[in-house]
Symmetry: D2
Subunit: 157 residues, 4 copies
């Protein structure tokens, strides 16, 4: 955040939260991929996000369980909402995922993501995916801030 | 491979290739996720696979470029076809991806995967995703062999 | 843990802690690599460990800062003490590290590790390395349990 | 490389190789960590490096095999020589390693590293560590180019 925004956030305790929500709303409206999969944003906050997605028939692989790529997709979208929450355009550099338990048709997957670090242009975010009974996967994303914003900050006044 | 299968493959040079192709055919028939995304298997061989997928509207994220999760999905399916090619049920333990260039609507993504190691039950596979002009992503998958086979080897005779 | 040990731990609330400490003591006595680098075990508990190490002259790279490999070594040893704390021989399958800030000569590096998951033979552990003012690195280790124990459990009686 | 250097390299086919060698010589002279471990640079080239290191007593862990951290250190140094070979100061952002086979006392470990991609300020390098009979580990490093050079390019004339 630039200094003016930092000062604004300090003196308006809810400003950072409101900005995170406005950013998420705009991003989600434009994000056909996440909407087409039935993802829902449950919560966002500065540096954090929580999304849910239900495993459908078309997400099953040859073993009849959820294709790992769809678990990754949910975690990756959660990561994107968390790392863009400061209204600075931020992209994924790289991600890793460890699979702990299978997800099955009808499971409501819940991904919770939080920032672990943010220094300079880069950040690290940890996302945990659960299915109600087990942790399904642990995901770590590395972000890189590029130029531009998601929403116009003048709107904020 | 058990000793009998190894011996069979040694004395029948095409047996391993034919087995890889039968496995891929069976897996793909059951893999709704990969088929629903329009993936095509271009080539399989023992420890190797090559798949293509065209970036469609519903794969675009809020920046108007292909959601990284779909690039991951293509790489992950390629990994699955490569690591199951010996007809031993094999699952992903974990994967990592590094994004090098964006993919855009209409791009035909091509993922080529090859085995880097296989020792005991675990393997490491590297998959490169290109879009015709650039390398879009590098993916590394770690596999774990479980019990069971994909096709019945008695069919092979 | 086998059932007898689980029952023992349930009825003797300190048993798991005492076992973790005995394992750490034995491992450290045999671990020339960690001792030669001046590492100290500050704390162990079931699934957790905390180690410190001071950055010396011989750990500096060509830029005059601590070679990333030594930061990794401290995190990796912390991971080993955490994942072996149940007295089941456990080895590293793979690890990843993200560097957040440089470490300098004289810095006392502190690595704190905790288990994120343990299912079947595999586990995931997160280790954070700090130097008193900053987080220096985030490390994630994947463990695999093999046969055997570190200390004899009959000693415990 | 800037345009003048690119042109120079194009018209002087050996210039890039000579530059890589001069950079490696300078880096190694200043790299106490790598020298203290007995590492040797066997070969460097633009984007590539090959180093060896013998496993000594003080690298053994509690299981009597080489501590994974020392295998990482060798791979990490190889990565550093490869990614700095263009004479642009370049640091590690993050690394991952997968262990395939143990290394033992007296083993001569050989790490061969090559660039997989370089776009903008970031690069991806793959390093394979062998011990003469087996692949011991696969390492992937992500680099980030910062300001400055290792040697003065005017020296080159």
């Amino acid at each position: 955040m630039d200094d003016a925004l930092k000062a604004h956030v300090r003196t308006h305790p809810d400003a950072a939260q409101q900005l995170a929500e406005r950013v998420a709303e705009r991003m989600f409206a434009n994000d056909r991929a996440s909407r087409a999969l039935g993802m829902r944003i449950e919560r966002v906050a500065p540096g954090r996000a929580e999304l849910t997605m239900t495993v459908t028939d078309s997400m099953l692989n040859g073993h009849g369980i959820c294709h790992g790529g769809y678990i990754f997709l949910l975690a990756d979208s959660t990561f994107a909402f968390a790392c863009n929450s400061y209204n600075r355009n931020t992209v994924a550099q790289g991600c890793s995922i460890d699979y702990l338990a299978p997800a099955r048709k009808g499971d409501v997957l819940r991904a919770r993501g939080a920032e672990r670090s943010r220094t300079g242009r880069t950040g690290v975010y940890d996302i945990e995916v659960t299915n109600g009974t087990s942790t399904v996967a642990l995901f770590r994303g590395k972000s890189y801030r590029i130029d531009g914003t998601i929403v116009d900050e003048l709107d904020e006044a």
